[in-house]
């Protein structure tokens, strides 16, 4: 085994161990993991047993060739960490115990895998169900293993005198006071790790605070909700006080308030009924389990979270409360990314479908149109061409050829296979409709599984494609006509899940297009053209297209000039296993994910040092249109963390679910070019604005220059020093 392999496995193990602890609180934060391990080791046996279980779980996973990524994430082993702590805190440490522990560890891993995969089918997390299964098995069966004996846990507690001290204070206060509630909160926090003392709770709380402000707020919110519900109902407080079962409220609150669901006012509202539901489960199941001598542990949390997620998964329209589509292991990132992406893309999951024509057309009937876009056909678009007075024809308008859109080329909106063609239907006379062949001459194109586009009312005998043909985006398919249910020439465009002419429509936006409003162009991304709007596809400029054409495998060597000093930087373009392209910086290891569909280049994610050149590039070229448009300004948003100092972000996180007072904007506008057509030199400026409500408090400017000699170069400021980076050959 070479040194590098050894290093790889060491890293894999250590990261896996840390994440196994952090994951208990839905995190991958190293500091939180550290705090949690510290707390676990307050009871050295519990700490040790849990570590052993994690390591054995990892070894088993490795031995049976399970995903290294999941091992690194600690997904298989966070239940082992919990189980280890529970067992370690209960039983005496003997040789037999170790053997028993090893078996339990392997079992926990197996059960974790089973639950993980079974629940993943239903798009649900497996939470700490494996832990419950194993711990209950052990507790019910321990009588049969004489060699395994429970011990007097307090003897091993390092800080066992702390709770006594606090308890004395507690008893001093007759009624519930704030201090008292706080105490109970801290104990509940510690109880997740089976540490029923305040110091553990405080440590965990600090860890949570460092990891996530939203989680911290949620933990308090959930706890208080549960607490006050108990008080209101005059419930048996012993549940809370003696078994500190209140942590179920905290975990449920974090899970549903910001981890699985995007943190927002609505997610906080959701918790209002959900936390009392957790209380129902606690009191309802407490009695049953008590008869078997089993503690509730995290059962209420598991049941409620699964129930609510299942419920959310099965809504008809997943709006209002948003489930986190891609887990960032941080409620902050989940929250900010969600709101950023909803503003940047409307939706990220759509396929790239462009406008199926050349030049500027008008939407003559939009979605849910008053004429024919109804019911199953409500998500269709009709287009025609108008003059300055919004007239669709010249001369008398009594023949098809008088209409501006008649006989204009119609092209494929995306690449795909022609699945059906209908041609040979006569173009109607103006005002007549053909209801028996209502779609007229039509082409249906298959773009992917269950995604077809349909273009209808084409001119008779103008279709030049046949079923089975592969089409590139923008390839000519036929000409706009007036066949079918079409009283005057227009193009009908819809997306559908089935390949038939006449299938019902589905909602799908157009990827990028230009909208002309008051004679000014605006860029629209993944948006839907509305009725009456004038829209046109983007025309690319070769220089811009080439400069941002980062094909996988391309190596970018940068020369950076900072004052009198010169540096260099090497990037490389890669594609990951899910077909996402990213730029990797060899110097800093930073990674920036980008998308380039041919007309727009934009960044989606950045991981790594905020001081690298790649981060500047990520900010400055956040969204670039690959066609030169003199008066067009590109607007975009960027993550607050990319722009504001971390202290401001830290404070902002506390209120982020409710409102944002720090806002980050991006704009790009073209500056100049040396030749209008096919320029060999071109420049644009991008600006980042960090705003406190409306007042700009941070402004960063990037000047990009493109030329045929050196494709890309840009200037930026670092510590008030002007820097210039240019691509070398």
């Amino acid at each position: 085994m070479s040194f590098n392999t050894l290093k790889y496995y060491a890293q894999l193990f250590i990261e896996g161990i840390f994440n196994s602890y952090a994951q208990i609180y839905f995190s991958k934060n190293k500091w939180l993991a550290f705090a949690l391990m510290l707390v676990a080791w307050m009871h050295p046996l519990a700490g040790f047993a849990s570590l052993i279980m994690v390591v054995i779980g990892q070894l088993t996973a490795l031995f049976f060739h399970y995903s290294h990524q999941e091992i690194r994430n600690g997904s298989y082993t966070y239940n082992s960490a919990l189980t280890g702590m529970a067992i370690g805190a209960y039983y005496q440490f003997t040789g037999a115990f170790i053997v028993w522990l090893v078996v339990a560890a392997i079992l926990t891993f197996f059960i974790s895998v089973w639950f993980m995969h079974q629940l993943a089918i239903k798009n649900l997390p497996f939470l700490s169900i494996p832990f419950l299964a194993v711990v209950w098995l052990i507790m019910m069966g321990e009588k049969n293993f004489a060699a395994i004996e429970p011990h007097d846990s307090s003897a091993y507690l390092v800080v066992n005198h702390f709770p006594l001290l606090f308890s004395a204070v507690t008893e001093w206060i007759m009624q519930w006071t704030i201090a008292d509630i706080m105490l109970l909160y801290f104990r509940s926090m510690g109880a997740i790790l089976f540490q029923y003392n305040d110091l553990a709770g405080i440590l965990v709380s600090i860890g949570i605070l460092i990891h996530s402000r939203i989680s911290f707020i949620l933990s308090i919110y959930g706890f208080l909700l549960g607490f006050f519900f108990y008080q209101l109902m005059e419930a048996d407080f012993s549940h809370l006080i003696y078994s500190y079962i209140g942590f179920n409220f905290i975990l449920t609150s974090i899970a549903l308030g910001g981890f699985f669901v995007v943190a927002s006012r609505r997610s906080f509202l959701l918790l209002l009924p959900v936390i009392p539901m957790t209380a129902f489960v606690i009191s309802g199941l407490h009695g049953i389990l008590f008869t078997f001598g089993l503690p509730l542990y995290s059962l209420p949390f598991n049941l409620i979270v699964l129930l609510i997620l299942y419920f959310l998964n099965n809504r008809l329209h997943a709006t209002g409360l948003f489930k986190v589509p891609f887990q960032h292991y941080s409620p902050e990132l989940n929250h900010y990314k969600h709101f950023l992406n909803s503003q940047r893309f409307k939706s990220q999951t759509y396929f790239h479908i462009s406008l199926p024509f050349i030049g500027e057309w008008r939407v003559s009937q939009g979605h849910n149109g008053a004429i024919t876009h109804k019911d199953d056909y409500r998500y269709a678009l009709d287009f025609d061409v108008v003059n300055e007075d919004y007239k669709t024809y010249h001369q008398d308008g009594d023949k098809c050829s008088d209409y501006y859109c008649f006989n204009l080329p119609v092209q494929s909106p995306a690449s795909g296979w022609v699945s059906s063609v209908q041609d040979g239907i006569d173009d109607n006379e103006i005002g007549q409709v053909n209801l028996s062949q209502n779609w007229g001459n039509t082409v249906v194109i298959r773009h992917g599984d269950y995604l077809y586009s349909k273009l209808s009312h084409l001119k008779k005998d103008s279709i030049i494609v046949k079923p089975g043909d592969y089409l590139q985006k923008g390839q000519l398919i036929g000409y706009c006509g007036n066949s079918g249910r079409s009283p005057e020439p227009h193009l009908h465009f819809q997306l559908q899940t089935y390949p038939y002419i006449g299938s019902k429509t589905i909602f799908h936006p157009i990827d990028y297009y230009l909208l002309r409003k008051n004679n000014k162009l605006q860029l629209r991304s993944f948006d839907l053209p509305l009725e009456g709007e004038l829209v046109s596809p983007i025309v690319t400029t070769p220089l811009l297209y080439d400069a941002f054409n980062f094909l996988p495998g391309r190596v970018l060597e940068w020369k950076i000039k900072k004052g009198e000093n010169f540096f260099s930087n090497k990037w490389e373009v890669f594609t990951d296993s899910s077909n996402k392209t990213y730029i990797y910086c060899h110097q800093t290891g930073a990674i920036a994910y980008f998308v380039n569909q041919g007309t727009i280049f934009y960044f989606v994610d950045y991981y790594g040092s905020k001081k690298s050149l790649l981060h500047h590039f990520y900010k400055g070229a956040h969204r670039v249109i690959l066609g030169y448009y003199e008066d067009l300004q590109i607007d975009d948003r960027i993550l607050n963390t990319d722009l504001f100092p971390s202290v401001l972000n830290f404070i902002h996180d506390f209120t982020a679910p409710f409102f944002h007072y720090l806002l980050s904007y991006y704009t790009l506008s073209f500056h100049s070019q040396n030749a209008i057509h096919n320029p060999t030199q071109l420049s644009f400026v991008s600006n980042l604005y960090g705003k406190f409500i409306h007042k700009t408090i941070i402004n960063k400017q990037y000047n990009f220059h493109l030329s045929r000699q050196c494709l890309l170069s840009f200037t930026y400021y670092e510590n008030n020093q002007a820097c210039e980076a240019s691509l070398s050959h």
């Binding site: 050349i358 500027e360 061409v385 050829s401 501006y404 006989n407 204009l408 080329p409 000519l476 057509h677």
Partner: protein, 455 residues
């Protein structure tokens, strides 16, 4: 009570009875009056600015241009129009086109300076034509203007100038070719079929002194067959692709020139222009489908430049005139003398202009010959037109006169008339004053020994 309109008195006509159909459109008469231009009465215009008078409609100019632009831009993504100065270089007219994004296409040093003075940036001017002086070329190079080379001598001169200066002028070559129409235009540019064009391309690209950015053709004028453009475009794209293949050099634009027909009726044409002339969309279809089917890289399509003049401006111009007198010729035909003749309406040498009365007339028309005011036998505006009996002092409007009349009408015997433009709000603007004696004599120099007249 509404004042009763006075009945029009027209003198009686005697006409042979023609019971059979003379042609399938029936007898064409021009009794339908044109009383207003863009809402302004013709009489008011003449009262204010005099007669004869050229009138341009800004709204019509803009509408026509936008329609042509739309016809091309909805068929091909990269379009650029350049206003053909020689068609009408009144500054007001040029600037309407420039405001709409049209560049300038000039064919002489004079037109080039005019375009620059109008505020067109040098790199948005296309310099065509066989007549470019050394001075013109140097100026064009300095301004980064697109120079379209017409012949080898110009190519050699420009190469020499470029080599001695540091700049690399942006050039295109003008190409002529057989597109299947007669007569074939072969006097401008380099011939495609005999290899001259390819030779010129090789000479430019082997030498590196000039930057070959485009190729240009202009297949003829008043072309009635769009298919000729399809043939021409196919040949041009073929050349561009050959250039890419041999030199790995990308041609940025293909300039298809102009030559689209206007609604005018050519002399000797059987059909009236409005019925026979193809729609601008048909030309667009022919050119753009040849471009799209040529096999260019989709992300690097060449621009299509168009230098359409006549088709855009012809029907935006009107010539208003007044009847001077009527007379009977020896053969019994009626003749009407107008206050404008071939000196003003130069295009009446080519077209049977549509000339309408400017006031309500009766429906009874008589074969008439329209003479101009010149004391010259050639001054015939229409040799046969069926018009109602016009009286001296009544007005007529000649239509489709926007192209080539302002630029080619001559100061002969009398002054050239004023030009008015009616803007989109219906306001009239004097854009060229009627000539005066001072203006005409301004450049005359009378030698001193001839100053004194000894009567």
């Amino acid at each position: 009570m509404k004042k009763k309109e006075k009945k029009i008195y027209e003198r009686p006509l005697i006409r042979p009875l023609n019971a059979s159909i003379s042609n399938k459109f029936g007898r064409r008469t021009e009794w339908l009056p044109l009383t207003h231009i863009d809402g302004i009465p013709v009489v008011d215009l003449i009262n204010e600015f005099g007669s004869p008078l050229f009138v341009y409609s800004e709204k019509k100019i803009r509408d026509n241009f936008m329609m042509a632009k739309r016809a091309f831009e909805t068929r091909y993504p990269k379009i650029q129009f350049a206003w053909s100065y020689k068609t009408c270089y009144l500054n007001a007219v040029c600037n309407v086109y420039h405001q709409m994004g049209s560049w300038a296409e000039v064919v002489s040093g004079f037109e080039y300076e005019k375009a620059l003075q109008n505020g067109v940036p040098g790199d948005k001017i296309i310099f065509n034509g066989p007549d470019k002086s050394k001075h013109d070329l140097l100026l064009a190079m300095k301004n980064n203007t697109l120079i379209h080379i017409d012949h080898f001598d110009e190519l050699y001169l420009l190469t020499e100038l470029a080599s001695s200066s540091k700049s690399k002028p942006r050039v295109a070559i003008r190409i002529n070719m057989d597109t299947g129409v007669y007569p074939q235009w072969d006097r401008f540019g380099f011939n495609y079929e005999n290899g001259q064009a390819w030779e010129a391309v090789n000479k430019i690209l082997m030498n590196d002194a000039l930057d070959l950015v485009g190729i240009h053709t202009h297949i003829g004028t008043f072309m009635m067959t769009p298919s000729a453009y399809a043939v021409a475009t196919a040949k041009m794209t073929e050349l561009a692709i050959q250039i890419k293949k041999k030199f790995n050099h990308i041609i940025t634009y293909i300039d298809m020139g102009g030559g689209f027909a206007s609604k005018n009726t050519l002399k000797g044409s059987y059909y009236a222009g409005a019925d026979a002339v193809p729609d601008i969309g048909e030309y667009a279809e022919a050119i753009t489908s040849a471009l799209l089917n040529a096999g260019f890289d989709r992300n690097n399509l060449p621009f299509l430049y168009l230098e359409t003049g006549r088709a855009l401006v012809d029907d935006t111009g009107f010539l208003l005139g007044t009847v001077l007198a009527n007379k009977r010729l020896a053969d019994g035909r009626r003749a009407t003398i107008l206050d404008f003749g071939v000196n003003t309406l130069f295009t009446s040498f080519w077209y049977d202009h549509k000339i309408s009365p400017a006031q309500e007339m009766g429906h009874y028309a008589e074969e008439t010959i329209l003479y101009g005011p010149l004391c010259m036998n050639i001054d015939v505006v229409r040799d046969a037109i069926s018009l109602p009996p016009l009286k001296p002092g009544q007005h007529v409007v000649a239509q489709y006169v926007g192209a080539y009349n302002i630029t080619q009408s001559m100061q002969f015997i009398t002054f050239r008339p004023a030009v008015v433009m009616i803007d989109r709000e219906g306001r009239s603007h004097l854009i060229r004053k009627r000539e005066s004696l001072d203006y005409v004599q301004k450049n005359e120099i009378l030698p001193s020994h001839l100053k004194k007249l000894n009567w």
